[in-house]
């Protein structure tokens, strides 16, 4: 799986309350959630992300609550992939389960600038920064996580498994 897009860069410890504030959690509509993605950090984020972007962050991205609405809001706002130094564990699992690719890439938050154009190769765990002409190594995903992502998330993955039996 290859994913490309412009980078939007954030810092460390971005929590789920700023990714999607709790006042919006009463809606189940992903498009409605998407309008408020990252509102706590940058109210214009949804507008900037709509063409399709790669979100780059520092350490502990997605810390805080277990709300799956956080990766859903990002995905539907136009985030194609999240690259971070490392993730909070519940966010990481939630992102995989809803089919939003997440990749741990030590050093990424310093090496990438806002607006750099990136191409991510998920199988290889490789990030090409086309703006700077640099290649970065990310932590490769285990095979079963790659499979869930390729199926578009856990539900499709399970359906395929159950259907295949």
């Amino acid at each position: 799986m290859k994913i490309a897009g412009k980078a939007i860069v954030f810092g460390d410890d971005i929590n789920t309350d700023v990714i999607i504030p709790s006042k919006y959690l009463t809606t189940l509509d992903p498009k409605e959630l998407a309008k408020h993605a990252m509102e706590g950090m940058d109210p214009s984020f949804a507008d900037k992300a709509k063409e399709g972007i790669i979100l780059v962050a520092g350490k502990n991205f997605g810390c805080g609550s277990s709300r799956e609405q956080a990766p859903i809001a990002l995905k539907y706002a136009g985030v194609r992939c999240v690259l971070a130094e490392f993730f909070a564990r519940i966010f990481y699992r939630n992102a995989v389960n809803i089919g939003l690719p997440v990749l741990e890439a030590p050093g990424v938050s310093k090496a990438v600038n806002d607006g750099d154009f990136l191409t991510v190769n998920l199988e290889k765990g490789e990030i090409l920064n086309e703006t700077k002409g640099e290649v970065m190594k990310a932590v490769r995903l285990p095979e079963f996580i790659l499979e869930i992502l390729k199926d578009g998330g856990l539900i499709n993955h399970l359906k395929k498994k159950i259907g295949g039996k």
């Binding site: 006042k23 009463t26 277990s66 490392f86 539900i155 159950i162």
Partner: protein, 420 residues
Amino acid sequence: MNLAEKILARASGRDEVKPGEIVQSRVDAAMANEITGPLAIKAFREIGVPKVWDNERIVLIQDHQVPADTVKSAELHKIMRRFAEEQSIKFFYDIGRGGVCHQVMVEEGHVLPGDLIVGADSHTCTYGALGAFGTGIGSTEMAAVFATGEIWLRVPSSIKVNFCGSLREHVAAKDLILYVISLIGASGATYKAMEFTGSTISKLSIGERMTLCNMAVEMGAKAGLVNPDEKTLRYVEKLARRRFEPLKSDQDADYEKTLKIDVSRIEPMIACPHAVDNVKPVKSVEDVKIDQAFIGSCTNGRIEDLRAAAEILRRGRISKGVRMIITPASRRIYLQALREGLIETFIEAGALVTNPTCGACFGGHMGLLAPGEVCISSSNRNFIGRMGSPEAEIYLASPITVAASALAGRIVDPIEYLED
């Protein structure tokens, strides 16, 4: 093996597990509330399995937006109610029947020593207070658990925190855990388990142990655990709804790191805006005027917390210009507080007592802050916008410090304030 490893080994049917291994585990119970449950129910329907794996091990609790504040919240409640009925979910705690989910899980006997429990809420780590491995998951994953009763987990390495000594007067379990957070940091225990042990722990009540384990997730931990002892077994004896097998860490178990803390040196602590690990001694925070004081949540809304607050609030009236909200964490706690006369004390002091709910802590539907306002809270998160306006400020402290500050109208060290 340590306690976390022993529980995961049992849950995955193995003799032994090691940190880093991925194990397919069978859960003893699964919990969802009305914020995470409806998404899980939607995903469960997409999987296409007609019936849940076990209607006596899935617990559904309405707590975040109760009673319904908007039509949208009412719709979420309705989705939960219908699913509970359709799937014959035996333990469904509707509005007025339960309270804050983690408190309900423990006091209604759904959490037992040795259990592996997943909850669609990050503070599921609270269950470690009873020697269970409780961990938070998301909605889609919960749907898969509803269908199969199983989940894959990576065996975490463990950090051991050894507490010795006795707590000073007016210093609480909350101050201990804030102190630990100041040492470990907001991500220092990511993917790891934290085991709280030592002579101080055996003296703490189950409620106080819950406060410690509850905030393990604020350091990124997957679980917070306390080895079960006599106190634990006495506590669960009458509550247990099924058989259980208590497990304990071996004497020679491995830990990634061990911290030793003499608690007699710990003073009242406070987490300042806007990070849970921005922790300082309360006495170093001077001249911060407060607009709101809040006592409640799965961290500190228990009977011990209400008793401690009442003892202080009996001394006077809440300062002019401060509004105080007190939220008992469950209907059982509410009833107990009524019987002990605590609710009367709160109301006489000028506080507002609300129904059990995640309400103000979660910033969902009540007790919200306006721009520029300051709140001192006994809850667990002080993130930007957590309790209302992104321009408000939240300080986290013990119920004792919150109550003393409510009387003073500004943030005060309870030791200094109460001795004056």
